[in-house]
Symmetry: C2
């Protein structure tokens, strides 16, 4: 055969691969540093996973539903899980049927599918800036143009922000990366603008159950539903996940939206991975139905509230000379901005890594590469002692900067 | 608020949605017909699922590996499953490490990811024609151009077939839809051409364990590995799945390829759904490790061989006046071609549906819409009695055509 013939080069890979940001690779490399304290990721506390209960549920759902857990299922998800979620999310105003629900492989697959069905190269996505890194990654292969929206800017013109975009994107509850809670007036303005312009409005809500100090504000999709009675058919595309409520390893996310959007996303899902596994869908449905998720929610909130307090107390003690931040009222992150305009957060992140703590540099979260004077700190993964030690290491890095 | 203002139209959806073929929708609608016999799909026999053993395994893996099954995992898959698959697929010539393996959400996600990393709009994919419908669906959002290859044509010029394409695509073992087994000379020609041209060569192998009458031929990736010693770094992108070996509901597929391709596909997976669920990955690893898959394989083969024989016997008794076919030596399908050139298989499929049997019209499987005189019949889902009744109904439809 031809083993001795030198081989020609391979075909070029798709362009988006060469534009991918390097922050994920940096984090992965950081994972190998001995004794490193990881404040960079967005991971839940593994000690909260209800492992015994989930092991019991895992065996039970395969025994009780062998056809659904071992066979192919519908692309849009198992009816039992769709019904459980519709029941959990419906309100007096928000009327949901199965046609409003799609089950996805985590919230990230929902974002990927939204890009797949709505974006042609060069089209515009209006994003709350700074923006969730995973969303930017998910949409990169569709080659969009970004229009940043600063949701807490005074005098936001929401209609101008959304007009002509394929969709708007916001994380109203404790935005990733900033931890910012979008206020009710801005929520109302966004929803009204989506109804007026017709633009789809993606409400990404992974942290919606993580309110530590106050009652939850209404979701965008609830505000939208209140504008028109009947089964939901409005412009909001709501994305949720069980990753923060119970366990990310299930990879169970969902979309709640108008039936026409669910039908299009289902075509994308059918062509992308056929359907989500039956085992994890049935485990999720069982965990909702038996009350397990409701039972662990107070533990989740108590632990994360205490860790937020521990991080912010340590920051006040060690970092207040260098950084400004607001204490977030929920979510998983503190967003801190360097006072010294000559310092760059990418350089700070590199110095922090040398000092034994990993933080996320702000520019990674900005589609235009700005936000370069801020860093994102996670408080859910580590206990109070490690949070304090991480902050002390960051202070050493700042002193050396 | 603005409830009384009439709403403007929504932004247009991506173009590929309007070009999707309607055969899947037809099958779904068919599923609602009372008493219908479904010979159209590609479903395994559910009675083969080892439900009790899998229920036991499901509980055990969550108990034994709570962090891996409930937490986020690596985008490329859990090391335990990657090692189990590398061990299962390696041969004397094919040397595999973890860097050669990616875990995907079924084989379909592997196809989706190959399109995502290799295809820009207008680029060429050289496909064995007719072609697996799911592959055409998976690549449609990337807007490729198709170059059909007839792999059993005498005097195939494999280099001309692959040159300039981003990749070639073949199902050498019992092709979907034709059930055709690509012979050794054509396999050697394809692999040699991939090495000479540099073009990637996707070997999609869902039916590779379903040989009923003969010993398996070498896989394309084995032939490729034999051309160059050392860890695999050649042009073949091998795609496998547990869907036909044990249970499609696990949604466990995999890619075996050169590390540079695995790295690119992993970027696509990380941006698409982050990682596959830990529960199903650990279940798959356990089912391989404990020998469950090896134990059920003889049952799978015995049952499917008997059903193939039942279908082909019934066809010989009732359909030989209208159709020509070859008895497949493996896989899940019989491909039958109408003798009467004035008959169209889409019309036949519609008449068959009225007669109470669902068959897959050939044109759906051809990127250029040809193959319109053939139909695909599945023999794995139904028992012998239903296969015979399905054939009798098809004969009635043909008599009425």
């Amino acid at each position: 055969m031809t083993a001795t013939v030198p081989e020609p080069g391979r075909p070029r890979m798709a362009r988006w691969l060469s534009t991918t940001n390097s922050v994920t690779a940096t984090f992965l490399a950081a994972g190998r540093v001995q004794g490193l304290i990881n404040l960079a990721g967005g991971l839940p506390a593994p000690e909260l996973y209800p492992a015994d209960a989930m092991a019991e549920i895992a065996g039970q759902v395969v025994r009780d539903h062998p056809a659904e857990t071992l066979g192919y299922g519908p692309a849009d998800g198992l009816p039992a899980l769709k019904d459980a979620l519709a029941g959990r999310l419906a309100t007096a105003d928000l009327h949901l049927s199965r046609d409003n629900v799609l089950i996805t492989g985590g919230a990230l697959q929902a974002l990927d599918l939204v890009g797949k069905v709505l974006v042609e190269p060069g089209q515009t996505i209006a994003v709350q800036a700074p923006t969730y890194l995973g969303a930017l990654d998910a949409w990169r292969p569709r080659d969009p143009v970004y229009r940043p929206i600063t949701l807490d800017a005074p005098g936001l013109d929401a209609e101008a922000a959304l007009a002509g975009a394929q969709f708007g994107y916001a994380v109203p509850n404790f935005s990733n990366p900033t931890g910012h809670l979008v206020g009710l007036p801005q929520r109302q303005a966004l929803v009204a603008a989506a109804h007026r312009t017709g633009t789809w409005l993606v409400e990404d809500d992974p942290y919606g159950t993580l309110y530590y100090d106050a009652a939850p504000l209404p979701r965008l999709i609830e505000l939208s539903a209140a504008m028109k009675p009947g089964p939901y058919a409005g412009p909001v595309i709501y994305i949720g996940t069980l990753s923060k409520e119970i366990a990310p390893g299930l990879r169970i996310g969902w979309v709640i939206a108008a039936p026409e959007m669910i039908a299009a996303l289902t075509m994308g899902k059918l062509a992308g991975d056929m359907c989500s596994p039956g085992v994890t869908q049935r485990m999720a449905a069982a965990a909702i139905r038996c009350g397990l998720i409701d039972r662990i929610q107070p533990q989740v909130i108590a632990l994360y509230r205490a860790r937020r307090d521990a991080l912010c107390a340590a920051m006040a003690a060690h970092l207040s000379g260098w950084l400004d931040w607001e204490v977030p009222v929920g979510g998983m992150f503190v967003w801190a901005t360097l006072r010294d305009p000559s310092l760059d957060s990418a350089r700070l992140a590199a110095l922090a890594l040398e000092a034994g703590v990993c933080v996320a540099p702000g520019a990674s979260f900005d589609p235009l590469g700005r936000a370069s004077r801020s860093i994102r700190l996670n408080f859910t993964l580590n206990d109070a002692d490690r949070l304090q030690e991480g902050v002390r290491r960051l202070a050493r890095a700042l002193a050396a900067a």
